[in-house]
């Protein structure tokens, strides 16, 4: 008896739509089982994790705030992954974007600069992230070096660079020698959408990017090119599409979006540079990209859902003393189930009975 995959004639539309739903259902079931194993009441825990945050205006705002950088980065990653360029270094590009954009804030601090500062910061952040992403892209295209590993190593380098800058040259002279820059001036801070809340303009920017990406991928030649190069590289080459150029282009886009996410997040939530500005957004965004099936609208939903698990996880920690590790287990399981269900879109599963006659040739 063994499992065999049998290719379907065409994509199963049913599975394509049902897959994420089934995946979530399976994750909830597995989560409930795990709660029970830990001695926590399963139904109540699930409710606190997934339902309670949705009933609370503040929590919904926080979900959007948390989802904003995730969605921005994930949309960029989806461009890369569709084209089979594996950018694992989004975390580093996020940090570098915060650094290049933050540079302007530090440079204009205390001067009476005008409203051009914030838009300029965003542009610098995007450019910085794009430039940083081009390093692994160029190494891949020119030398054939694995972009997975070079982009990953560069994450560590970016972390150390940020650390050096805020401890040394950019340290706030009035900050008791602690490693942070001065607070960003109001012109360098992201405006809030609602007074007194944390919901900021970045959310709108993220939404616009999602829409833009969706249009680009679905309706433009470039989008088609990206999808084709990933799905059928030979055919793409016959069509005259150059996969090397595309690697560079998609990495640049991805780096730009990650860098943009970095400077937006810093100017909106933290308002200064410090060694710790990302709770692993660049890596969580990879999950979001896959959960969203590399589709911008899917990524939007996946980002919101994942943000929900973070917020719910904190509430569960307070209310039920569920350890924070649980959230990671949830997210890992969710990705597993999504990948499993996704297989069913292209393949059917068959159980093959053991053969009664031994195969001849060996």
């Amino acid at each position: 008896m063994r499992l065999a995959l049998e290719r379907r004639g065409e994509r199963s539309i049913f599975m394509a739509l049902a897959s994420p739903v089934i995946a979530i259902a399976l994750t909830l079931a597995a989560g409930a089982a795990l709660f029970a194993l830990l001695g926590k009441p399963p139904v109540q825990a699930l409710k606190i994790y997934f339902l309670d945050p949705l009933t609370d205006a503040w929590a919904i705002q926080e979900i959007i705030v948390k989802a904003t950088p995730l969605v921005l980065i994930a949309v960029g990653l989806s461009f890369c992954y569709l084209a089979n360029a594996w950018n694992i270094g989004a975390e580093g590009q996020f940090l570098i974007g915060a650094v290049t954009g933050g540079w302007l804030a530090v440079a204009t601090h205390g001067t009476d600069a005008g409203y051009w500062v914030l838009p300029a910061m965003l542009v610098l952040g995007a450019l910085g992230g794009a430039a940083y992403a081009l390093i692994p892209a160029v190494f891949k295209v020119r030398f054939g070096a694995s972009e997975i590993l070079t982009s990953l190593m560069l994450v560590y380098v970016a972390e150390l660079l940020l650390d050096y800058l805020v401890r040394g040259p950019w340290r706030d002279p009035k900050g008791f020698n602690f490693p942070t820059t001065a607070e960003f001036d109001p012109v360098a801070a992201m405006p809030m959408l609602i007074e007194g809340s944390r919901l900021h303009l970045g959310a709108i920017i993220a939404l616009l990017i999602v829409i833009g990406a969706a249009i680009l991928l679905a309706r433009t030649l470039k989008g088609f090119e990206i999808k084709l190069v990933g799905a059928a590289p030979r055919a793409a080459r016959f069509a005259g599409f150059n996969d090397k150029t595309l690697t560079v282009v998609t990495f640049a886009i991805s780096g730009a979006l990650a860098g943009l996410a970095g400077i937006i997040e810093v100017s909106a939530t933290v308002n200064h540079l410090q060694p710790n500005i990302s709770p692993g957004y660049g890596f969580t965004a990879i999950i979001v990209a896959f959960l969203g099936r590399l589709n911008p609208i899917g990524i939007l939903i996946a980002g919101l859902f994942l943000a929900l698990t973070f917020i719910g996880g904190e509430t569960a920690q307070i209310a039920l003393k569920v350890p924070l590790d649980f959230t990671k287990v949830f997210q890992g399981m969710l990705l597993f189930f999504v990948l499993t269900c996704d297989t069913l879109i292209l393949y059917r599963i068959r159980l093959i009975p053991a053969p009664k006659v031994a195969h001849g040739i060996r």
């Binding site: 602690f178 007074e195 007194g196 350890p323």
Partner: protein
């Protein structure tokens, strides 16, 4: 107009908070934000020990809760607000990196009381507290000078921030008071907590001739290594004798319980007010673990120094303090450096050969 909206929102929140407070039972809900895991045997662990102690002491009068592993970046503000929304009226944020987030949330919820450890931003409803750990370092320096054969201390530093730098200086001043040519080797591991790196740093320091290890990081890796290697060590944050029965001379214990008990009492009696508490040996926030693995005369020396500091007769940073460049530091506190100078210390004293990183 903007101010009016904010004021109205704040008022609404305050009323809401007050109403929810009034409708709940008498129990005071106290929340803690931890930067690390409660099991780190170090910084966070000690806060957790204190939290359990106050829960035991006040029993039904308070209800404590905590959030651990809270990232010091963008998530901090939200986590603190989560505690507020869960009904906590007194919230402790236990790491420097939470400073701005705490200040922001404190502004938003003027009826909730906040206390931030090791920071410097205060508000009407935001107090700060910390420990004069450098007092313990001075005593450690005296012990190290007596116990070391090679005359070299191995210091595992986390980050070159004033708190750590002043600790190094205090230790060296204590050592120099007994042995003027004492030396120190410093390795910066750039983390508060990474047992593997700490063990590697410990090894490197020992290999380079240090036979007394101390650290400003949180795990017991260095102590364990020292025990194995047969050299001496000082525990950090908590009593690490379990990990170094033969190596630990003493440890600086972060004893937050008496401080928390004080503050809870004030809060329960509605007498809580903002302020800044920077307590040392006298307030018992800083405690020394029992002096072990040393001959009696060294023990006496240490205990005498401890008594002298506790009574205020001896100040680790008594003037004159000579900096690495040879110049005497301005003595702003009369007979010793003042608090401001210690809090922002970013220079080494004479006798330390390394340069302060990223100056």
């Amino acid at each position: 107009m903007k101010k009016l909206v904010i004021a109205a929102a704040a008022a609404a929140l305050a009323v809401g908070a007050a109403l929810s407070g009034a409708s709940a039972q008498e129990k005071l809900k106290v929340g803690f934000i931890y930067v690390g895991p409660v099991g780190d045997m170090g910084w966070t662990y000690q806060h957790e020990v204190a939290r359990k102690a106050i829960q035991d002491q006040f029993k039904d009068k308070i209800d404590t809760t905590y959030l651990e592993n809270v990232n010091e970046g963008p998530d901090a503000e939200r986590s603190i607000e989560q505690l507020v929304r869960a009904g906590n009226k007194l919230i402790y944020t236990t790491s420097f990196g939470f400073m701005d987030a705490t200040a922001k949330v404190a502004k938003k919820y003027p009826n909730i009381q906040f206390e931030h450890a090791t920071g410097y931003k205060r508000d009407k409803n935001l107090a700060t507290y910390s420990g004069r750990f450098y007092e313990g370092r001075y005593i450690q320096g005296i012990i190290a000078a007596k116990m070391s054969k090679t005359g070299t201390i191995g210091y595992i530093g986390s980050f070159p921030i004033p708190e750590v730098v002043s600790g190094i200086n205090a230790m060296m001043l204590g050592a120099q008071s007994v042995r003027p040519d004492m030396k120190v080797k410093i390795i910066w591991v750039n983390t508060w907590y990474d047992p593997g790196k700490e063990a590697a740093a410990a090894r490197a320091l020992a290999d380079q001739g240090a036979d007394i290890l101390t650290q400003h990081t949180d795990s017991a890796a260095a102590t364990q290594f020292a025990n194995e290697r047969g050299i001496f060590s000082f525990g950090q944050d908590s009593d690490m004798i379990k990990f170094g029965p033969k190596s630990q001379l003493t440890a600086i214990i972060n004893n937050w319980t008496p401080y928390y008990v004080d503050r809870i009492n004030l809060a329960l009696n509605k007498k809580w007010a903002t302020g800044d508490v920077w307590g040392g040996l006298k307030s018992k926030i800083v405690q020394m673990a029992p002096y072990t693995n040393m001959p009696d005369d060294v023990k006496k020396l240490a205990m005498d120094a401890e008594a002298a500091i506790t009574d205020g007769k001896l100040h680790p940073f008594k003037c004159p303090v000579v900096a690495q460049d040879g110049k005497t530091v301005e003595c702003k506190g009369g007979t010793h450096l003042d608090d401001g100078q210690i809090l922002s210390m970013n220079f080494y004293i004479k006798g330390i050969d390394d340069k302060v990183p990223a100056k």
